[in-house]
Amino acid sequence: MWMSILIAVGALVLLAMVFGALLGYASERFRVEGNPLVDQIDALLPQTQCGQCGFPGCRPYAQSIVDGDAINKCPPGGESTIQALADLLDVEPQPLDAEHGEEHPRRVAVIREDECIGCTKCIQACPVDAILGAARHMHTVIESECTGCDLCVDPCPVDCIDMVELATDIHSWRWDRPDASPMTGQVIASDRSTEARA
């Protein structure tokens, strides 16, 4: 009787040790560096690095969301980003917090080049190194790399940077969604007479 209890306990202890060792090894071997949720949130943020959310870049905001911050502080991402974050975190989407700014169509910074004095202040301000130039030489924005974050506008001592909305050209054009309004509130043809009577 005691013997069988001992065997059972022994077997369980042995199993626990084996699985414990296995789990311990696995947790070392497949350790995940950092919080993967931060990466996932960061991947949804628009990476303008504009700081309008109040954090110095998209990743710090992602970290802050993980720590419980609101998901509606990103104006460049706008409603679609809020929706995506809400889906990811399984929370209710909120409207964009107007305190942090409004959603704009995509913009890029453009330097009025003949007014530029070559002070390099905008170069230092650009979070994605999208401004090219050297001290006392004209600077210019690499349009394809500009995230439209606005951060170069304030530091410019001669105010020669404009934020320009990108016009749709033939390559960026896409078909419009058909106007759905005629369909709403309508009924199929065979029911129309009943609808009219009602």
Binding site: A43, P46, Q47, W173, W175, I188
Partner: protein, 578 residues
């Protein structure tokens, strides 16, 4: 007799082909100006090789390839370049794109015209390069660069070459007429393709509603080993994937291309263009376009120069603007309406349909979906159009993508059968556009993140370097402060006779000061040399260098003073003890 397979779905819209198919191809007359877009193909636009005011001859290169995925554009006739700039081009957006405007001189002089020498006509690489240089892009509608298409990823992987002569869309008869009038050219072009790819079999797929074209082809392929396969008429059998399915029974995999199953499809017009490029040295500067619709008095097919304004072509066919509704480029199923008739004919303009409002009535207002499922029966790609419609309408783009939205060939069969007249294809197109835009945004965001992180890393590294330098300086200073015992030793020794230890511990070591002075002097001389040099060259950094020299002068002075002070202090202390 070959076994034919079947593709799912499909519809039988009224053909309306006889209006334009019964007259031979006419040659369109020369317009006042030709507007040649620099991008008439899928890929990167061509880069201009001419400037305003240049005289060009027929066949001269106007725009050359930019990058690997591009095709050149040639002058359709001789004349001079009036303007290079944005002009409305036939595109559903109605937006402008870069075009070369050419004023013909009416002489139509050919420039250098190089047919491929006979010795090179067997060499696939030479043939491919020649086809590419001739600016040939798929004439069926998509405009894929032919030189690239004919170069499949692996050699000898193409087992079947199919020439697409199905031309299933209503109204369009350009291919039908081309075959009837010039079957030999078409077959010769196909033989060139066969020489390049060396496939096991070469087929021509043609719908059974073109008996004359079938006859013309059959006599032209006699003895070539090419097989003409007559397929039943059903829209969209001329879709690349559908034709492949009908002829081989195989399906192009999701997200793949026909070459993945060893098939390559070419359009009839493209084959004729290849023939002309190889044997006559003519680049792609003209094409056959169907002019049809009730608003034209003389519908038919014309051979027109690329760049001819559409209004000019329509006028030549007796365009009655009062009777016309929308003018479509392409057929009634897949075409789009042109907002502006000043737009030019491009390489992909297979049909211009100027219908009367009765012929092409404006779409009736859409009704709610009643889930009848006709669209799913009609879909040749076996998609679920109704389901895709719901997803598209509610903006659930990822679900639409999961339901294989990108397999949709936008043939319009679902919209055509829809009893509620829902513009289904428009929904799919807009959703596809949105998804593509999202993907681009994602790519942009990833790149911005990379750049941001790289910058962050760089700033940190710089900070660390600065910190390290400061640390090193601090350590050096601390060492210097600790060395006085050694430096004290020197005055001790020198003043050993007087047995004094009066030298202050802070007193800088003369040796170090001398070294500093020498270093400062060397730096100053160096700077002066640079300044002289800059002055001689008249460089723009002279004033900056002047400042630097002045700074170094100060430094030398300071070092000298410090040294003198130290020496005098030493002598003073020495004197005092004496």
């Amino acid at each position: 007799m070959r076994t034919l397979y079947d593709f799912p779905g499909g519809i039988h819209p009224p053909e309306n082909k006889r209006q334009s198919s019964e007259t031979p191809i006419r040659i369109a007359n020369l317009p006042e100006r030709l507007i040649i877009p620099l991008q008439q193909h899928i890929g990167a636009p061509a880069r201009t090789r001419v400037s305003e005011g240049d005289r060009v001859l027929k066949g001269d290169v106007l725009g050359d390839t930019e990058g690997a995925f591009s095709v050149p554009v040639h002058a359709p006739t001789s004349g001079h370049i009036e303007r290079i700039g944005p002009h409305a081009v036939p595109h559903p957006s109605g937006l402008d794109d870069w075009c070369v405007t050419l004023i013909p001189d009416g002489k139509d002089h050919w420039g250098a015209c190089h047919p491929l020498p006979e010795s090179d006509q067997q060499d696939p690489d030479r043939l491919l390069a020649h086809i590419h240089k001739a600016g040939i892009a798929g004439l069926g509608g998509a405009g894929f660069p032919t030189g690239i298409k004919l170069r499949p990823p692996e050699t000898d992987s193409i087992r079947t070459v199919i020439l697409n002569a199905a031309e299933c869309e209503p109204y369009i008869t350009a291919d039908d007429r081309l075959i009837r009038d010039r079957a030999a050219e078409v077959v010769s072009g196909l033989q060139i393709v066969r020489r390049i790819l060396n496939p096991e079999q070469c087929l021509i797929g043609i719908e059974d509603n073109k008996p004359d074209a079938i006859q013309a082809l059959e006599s032209a392929v006699d003895g070539t080993g090419i097989e003409v396969v007559v397929i039943p008429t059903r829209y969209p059998s001329g879709g690349e994937k559908q034709l492949i399915q009908v002829l081989t029974g195989e399906e192009v995999p999701h997200g793949g291309i026909p070459a993945d199953i060893g098939v390559l499809c070419q359009n009839v017009g493209t084959a004729a263009a290849i023939h002309r490029a190889v044997y006559h040295g003519e680049p792609l500067i003209q094409r056959i376009t169907t002019l049809t619709g009730d608003a034209l008095c003389e519908p038919g097919n014309v051979e027109t120069l690329i760049g001819t304004p559409i209004r000019h072509l329509l006028d030549s066919a007796g365009f009655d603007e009062a009777r016309a509704g929308d003018v479509l480029m392409g057929g009634p199923m897949m075409g789009f309406s042109l907002p502006d008739l000043a737009m030019p004919v491009v390489k992909t303009t297979n049909c211009l349909l100027a219908g009367s409002p009765e012929e092409l009535p404006p779409p009736p207002p859409p009704q709610p979906c009643i889930r009848c499922g006709y669209c799913a029966d009609a879909c040749p790609m076996e998609l679920l159009p109704q389901q895709l419609f719901w997803f598209a309408q509610s903006g659930e783009n990822d679900k639409a993508e999961q339901h294989n939205l990108f397999d949709c060939i936008e043939c319009g069969a679902c919209s055509w059968v829809c009893p509620s007249q829902i513009p289904l294809v428009q929904y799919y197109r807009s959703t596809k556009g949105e998804i593509r835009e999202q993907r681009e945004e994602q790519i942009r965001a990833d790149r911005a993140r990379e750049r941001f992180e790289a910058r962050q890393a760089r700033l940190e590294r710089e900070q660390a370097e600065k910190e390290a330098k400061r640390q090193a300086r601090k350590e050096a200073a601390a060492k210097a402060r600790q060395t006085p015992p050694a430096s004290k030793a020197a005055p001790e020794r020198s003043a050993a006779a007087s047995e004094t230890v009066a030298a202050p511990s802070e007193a800088p070591d003369i040796e170090t000061l001398e070294k500093q002075l020498l270093k400062a002097q060397a730096k100053r001389n160096n700077m002066r040399n640079m300044l002289d040099d800059a002055r001689k060259r008249g460089a723009d950094n002279v004033d900056k260098l002047e400042k630097a020299v002045a700074k170094n002068d100060d430094r030398v002075d300071a070092a000298q003073k410090a040294l003198e002070k130290a020496r005098s202090g030493l002598t003073e202390t020495g004197g005092a003890t004496e």
